[in-house]
């Protein structure tokens, strides 16, 4: 065992390294926040001011009046929320099967899931566009909800499987012996014990839907139904919107996922440490 003095010297060193890394990595986030809090800066202010001076925090909330960001955030909540609600039951059942059973069906399903990750989004987008157009789903959020459901389903199932892997199956077996149905065992035993990992996977799905830009941009033409990522992307090339507004919108778009994520990250890490990605 190294001496205490050496250990605390190491600890200080690592603390310094950690602080430096955080500063470098978080600089873009800092830049976003800084610009969002500053008075109307022209796109072309030069030289740029890197220090936290000239702050005007009240501007942060003015963006609600000047842009449609509240509506976009509401739309995004709806899309991500409903898509996640749809994904969770389907993925949970599938994950349970992937975790507990070993047969050909399960192998095929696992293979299918891996293959879905290889598909370039465009290959999906054109058929979705055509089908949704024919079904009249392009005028509204439902099409996007379905697209996000599909988009997040495989990975969520994969992550939830890891959560179930961490729960010993003996408990369910015991319950079955006692006369419980398999479904009962799932719902009453396996799921409650795997909840941290399941919730983490659901949050992952929510954030992935929140983020999603590609489908949203193409499947929604009516700007009343824009989600936040499309709204933010629309500022690119729009020179009437100041950078303060763009960054303020970016900030509000970032806030929910960041909060959710930090809240859940402990469970996430624990979940993955319990033999998640082995093999």
């Amino acid at each position: 065992m190294s001496g205490t003095a050496e250990r605390s010297r190491h600890a200080r060193l690592w603390a310094v390294v950690g602080a430096t890394v955080v500063l470098v990595v978080l600089f873009p986030f800092y830049w976003m926040l800084l610009t969002a809090l500053r008075a109307e800066t022209s796109v072309f202010t030069y030289p740029p001011n890197l220090w936290p001076t000239d702050l005007a925090p009240h501007l942060l909330f003015q963006v609600f009046g000047k842009t449609q960001v509240l509506r976009w955030l509401a739309n995004t909540f709806i899309v991500a929320g409903v898509a996640t609600l749809l994904v969770v039951p389907v993925a949970t059942l599938a994950a349970y099967a992937l975790s507990r059973y070993r047969n050909r069906r399960v192998s095929y399903a696992a293979l299918l899931i891996v293959v879905t990750q290889m598909m370039p989004p465009v290959l999906l987008l054109v058929p979705y566009f055509i089908i949704f157009r024919n079904l009249g789903l392009l005028d509204g959020l439902l099409g996007l909800i379905l697209a996000n459901f599909a988009w997040t389903l495989p990975v969520t199932a994969w992550l939830m499987r890891a959560a179930f892997d961490a729960v010993p199956s003996e408990l369910e077996e015991a319950a079955l012996v006692d006369g419980c149905t398999r479904l009962g065992a799932i719902v009453r035993i396996a799921v409650p014990l795997a909840v941290p990992g399941l919730v983490a996977a659901a949050v992952f799905a929510f954030i992935a839907s929140w983020d999603e830009y590609f489908f949203a941009r193409t499947l929604i033409s009516d700007n009343r139904y824009w989600v936040a990522s499309v709204g933010l992307g629309s500022f690119a090339g729009d020179n009437s919107v100041s950078w303060q507004q763009i960054m303020a919108v970016a900030f509000f778009t970032t806030l929910p996922p960041v909060v959710l994520f930090i809240f859940v990250q402990r469970a996430f890490v624990e979940n993955m440490s319990a033999g998640g990605l082995k093999g």
């Binding site: 690592w14 072309f44 030069y46 290959l123 010993p168 933010l232 996922p257 440490s273």
Partner: protein
């Protein structure tokens, strides 16, 4: 094994088993447990996701593959068979070869760097120091930032004229002229790759951290007792310990970088300048939605799919061989 008897968490499990209210028991005896038999259970449990994947992935993919064999402009109206004309056109197209090369470079570089950065971050978080939890949470922030926000912010930071990065580089005397991060074809791919790595490394960090934590202390102990240096410990204890997690991670990152990475690249550079960041996925999008050559775009997408599948099979086979 534990778990059958006993208080505590098991207590919940035990109370979960229905002490029979008569109705349930009777129903149970009548209907049986539909999920009792494993084959049937797995079939039923997997049915919803199989249906979902069939509807939303397999169906569209089959359509895409079908469309890739139709004549230009006909796929949306029923199609007219045209053989492999689009594939041949792609094979002859220098732009396709260009995007294939760019994609390979981008994939390899971004996956390797993401992995290394994630590993370093995970190793850092294994050390104990004050503020470690804060650092851990802070390093997760990039992963939760929406892709569009990442692209917009990085795009502005790296702007040739007005970006803060160029300003710092010039003001500090490190460079004489602004660096064309997004306007110099030789650099643009690395800039876009840097943004991608920044966004993705937390995933690697979390995964590898979990794997690192799972390595038993005793292995390190015995290595130390045997006189191994820290570097030797790393090579012979750490690296093997995270091997399987690393493989899964690398495969996932590789598949994503090859076939899925789109938003950051497209919003930052649009595939430019002059095609310098036009990966296969970006090119597929442009074919379909800028040039309106749906059929050719479908052929491109099919090529990406096939290449990804081939790569995965080879990778898994190589890995299984190594494990014996």
């Amino acid at each position: 094994m534990t778990g059958v008897a006993g208080p505590g968490a098991d207590g919940d499990a035990r109370s979960g088993a229905p002490a029979p209210p008569g109705l349930r028991r009777r129903l149970h005896r009548l209907l049986g447990d539909p999920l009792a038999e494993p084959g049937r259970a797995s079939a039923l449990l997997l049915a919803p996701i199989a249906l979902g994947i069939a509807l939303f992935y397999v169906g569209p993919i089959l359509f895409g593959v079908w469309a890739s064999f139709q004549a230009e402009g006909t796929a949306m109206e029923g199609g007219r068979f045209a053989g492999t004309v689009h594939y041949e056109s792609l094979a002859r197209d220098p732009r396709f070869r260009n995007s294939l090369w760019i994609t390979v470079v981008f994939t390899v570089a971004s996956v390797v760097v993401t992995y290394v950065v994630g590993l370093l971050a995970a190793l850092l978080l294994m050390r104990s120091f004050r503020g470690r939890t804060f650092v851990g949470s802070a390093l997760l922030v990039p992963w939760s930032m929406p892709l569009v926000a990442v692209a917009v912010i990085w795009g502005w930071l790296l702007d040739y004229q007005f970006g803060a990065v160029n300003y710092v580089l010039r003001a500090s005397g490190l460079v004489a002229r602004s660096v064309g991060f997004l306007t110099d074809p030789a650099i643009a791919l690395w800039s876009v790759g840097a943004a991608q790595v920044w966004r993705l490394f937390p995933l690697a960090m979390v995964t590898l951290l979990a794997a690192l934590k799972a390595i038993p202390h005793e292995l390190y102990e015995s290595a130390r007792v045997d006189g191994a240096t820290p570097w030797q410990q790393f090579r012979h204890v750490t690296l093997p310990g995270i091997r399987s997690a690393s493989h899964a991670l690398l495969l996932l990152l590789g598949i994503w970088a090859f076939g899925r990475a789109f938003t950051i690249i497209f919003v930052m550079t649009g595939g430019g300048p002059a095609g310098a960041t036009e990966t296969l996925v970006v090119q597929t999008y442009l074919e379909a939605f800028r040039y309106f050559r749906l059929e050719r775009g479908s052929a491109l997408g099919t090529v990406v799919l096939v290449l990804s599948a081939v790569f995965t099979v080879l990778y898994l086979r190589a890995r299984n061989e190594r494990h014996g």
